[in-house]
Amino acid sequence: MYLYIQLAITGVSMGMLYALMAMGLILIVKAVGVLNFAHGQLFMLGSYLTFMLTHQWNLPLWGVVLCGIVVFAICGAAYMFACYWPLRNSPWKVTVIISTLGASIALEELVRIIWGSNPLTMKPIVEGTLYIGSAYLSYQYLFIILIGGGLMAFVYFLFEKSFIGKLMQATAQDRYAADLIGIPTVVAIVATYMISMCLSGTGGWLAGPLFLVSQSLSSFAQKAFAGIVLGGFGSVKGAIVGCILIGLIESFSLLITDSYKDAIVFLVLIIVLVVRPTGIFGEKIAEKA
């Protein structure tokens, strides 16, 4: 029983980390129609930047949060102006996607130049372990669930209930029409990239103490992509549910097999796509003749 509780908690917290990355990815897809292949690297960059704030600048927690938001936002804007903006009118639509692939390599090399190739250790944001029977739950895992849940609620209210969110949604749905009615679409797109980077960067901040601050953190993107597809491509709600499911499947699959844990995750993904090709929350889009 305690084993199941423990697997559930670690599964949900891993799912939350994937979901933070997936939400950022979906926001960019909705805003500019481009799948950002450097999103795992932005997650990794977030981890390194928070390492810098906490262990090199020795800022207190509130300072890390405030400075983190500012630094992430700047990085998000810089990323947009470097990888998307110059290529946005390219006649070959794949150009931007290729630029994100290039950015993924450049970002990995950049952090290697700045912070070196050794993995770095980061103190847990919340130290200690909670014991329930024979189950042990690190507070860091519980903190991930708490912060992840909070950020998901924030994104929901931002996009569904706020005026700024509506401007961003309008830009995402039809940029030309949004331009015509006077919405500053550039600002809306920049804001989307900033929020996206903030989500991924926060994910990196939360993951760093548990999994070390290293270039390999970017590999989390594979599971985030799987979660997005499982939940239904293009749906923020679907991405969240899909990623949490991926985290749980990954965790509980250990009860069946240790060696083929990832194979089970992707087997479930294939089965879901065969049964429901649009994913759990995806909607079929019929093309007009």
Partner: protein, 389 residues
């Protein structure tokens, strides 16, 4: 007609000059090592390791050890009066990168010998190219597949995983453990050593209550530890590379299981100790090298290394240092840079004193004849026992 003949003559002359030149300089890269190179030409030795990618930290230690050996040799007059130059090639820490790096380094340079990294999977991927080239190669890998390799020019500065597996199982017995869980890597190290431990456990009457193989590039070890904790084990064995080793120690520390833990060599390496966040305290490790070894000449070498680089050496530094030294000793003794002479010298080894181990050829590529059982205390590992074979 005369013009054509003149052109033909010039072409033949040019061809002859190029052909004569290639006798000394190989195929266009750094020339002059083998094939009876000029006495003033440097001797080139290749070093292949990860200098970028996730395993780049290993490459740093490797380079430090190899550079230290090269500098010492050159300061002492070189080999046969010739300067030794190391040529580095980045394998990016991947099997594909390793095979590409090997082919590149041997095709672009006239190498007398080549040192390979410690990742057995990568060494095994490179093995067919090593065999085809016939160049003497010393790796730092320890897989049972390297031990059973029939490539005559491939050697290792390590003991085989099968030997280390027996030592780990015996140490579990020494600690009085009866129900042990094993968490191992999916690579050649993990899949090679685990069956040996299980077989030795059977002989010793120890039960392997849970055997978990973690996924490639795994980061989240909490679920594995939960399953292991549920198995009711009284001890845990970890077999992994250094980055995973740090995470495993950290996850077990977080679980607060309070049982003795024994790891492979990676668990006592600096990167693992530093990344475990203090959870490495009390862990035992069976390792080819300990930075706190007190036997000579190892202790003096460690002091020199620390003075030179400002940090303690890792097993990789020591293995690579010994690999370069072994090649140079072979060339000096045989007064030759020919591959067959170097290989012949290596197969005649009997008790050569290195910093990592004493080296003896026993019919397999694994030249090392000793290893340590160490216990991690804070951020350093203390030698508990030295196992000689």
């Amino acid at each position: 007609m005369k013009k054509a003949l003149a052109l033909l003559t010039v072409a033949i002359m040019m061809f002859s000059m190029v052909a004569c030149g290639s006798g000394n300089n190989g195929n266009g890269g750094n020339g002059g090592s083998g094939d009876g190179g000029d006495s003033s030409d440097p001797i080139y030795i290749g070093v292949i390791d990860a200098f970028t990618g996730d395993r780049a930290s290993n490459g740093e230690y490797s380079k430090e050890g190899a550079d230290m050996a090269m500098n010492e040799i050159n300061e002492a007059g070189g080999v046969m009066g010739r300067e030794v130059v190391l040529v580095y090639e980045d394998d990016q820490g991947t099997e594909a990168g390793g095979t590409n790096a090997f082919q590149k380094i041997v095709s672009e340079n006239d190498l007398a010998a080549v040192c390979l990294n410690k990742y057995s999977s990568m060494v095994l991927a490179m093995e067919q190219f090593v065999a085809a080239e016939g160049i003497p190669a010393i790796c730092c890998g320890s897989s049972v597949n390297i031990e059973s390799s029939s490539t005559p020019n491939l050697f290792s500065t390590r003991k085989s995983d099968s030997g280390s597996g027996v030592t780990i199982a015996n140490w579990c017995n020494e600690l009085g453990l009866t129900k042990v869980a094993i968490l191992h890597a999916p690579d050649a190290l993990g899949t090679g050593m685990t069956p040996v431990i299980e077989a030795t456990f059977e002989e010793l009457g120890i039960e392997a209550v849970s055997v978990q193989q973690f996924a490639t590039e795994e980061k989240n070890f909490a679920p594995y530890i939960a399953v292991i904790a549920d198995s009711g084990c009284d001890g845990i064995i970890g077999i992994a590379q250094q980055q995973e080793a740090g995470l495993i120690m950290s996850a077990i520390g977080e679980a607060g299981l309070g049982v003795p833990c024994i790891g492979g060599s990676a668990f006592a390496q600096q990167v693992a100790i530093e990344t475990s966040g203090g959870a490495c305290d009390g862990w035992y490790s069976v390792t080819a090298f300990s930075p706190t070894a007190t036997n000579e000449p190892t202790a003096s070498w460690i002091a020199d290394y620390e003075e030179l680089y400002g940090r303690a050496p890792d097993m990789t530094s020591a293995c690579m240092y010994d690999a370069v030294k072994l090649f140079c000793a072979a060339m000096e003794e045989k007064q030759s840079t020919e591959a067959e002479d170097i290989i012949a010298w290596l197969t005649e080894l009997d008790g050569y004193e290195g910093v990592c181990s004493n080296y003896t050829y026993n019919g397999t590529p694994m030249l090392s004849s000793s290893e340590y059982v160490v216990q991690i205390n804070g951020t350093t590992s203390e030698v508990v026992s030295r196992v000689d074979s």
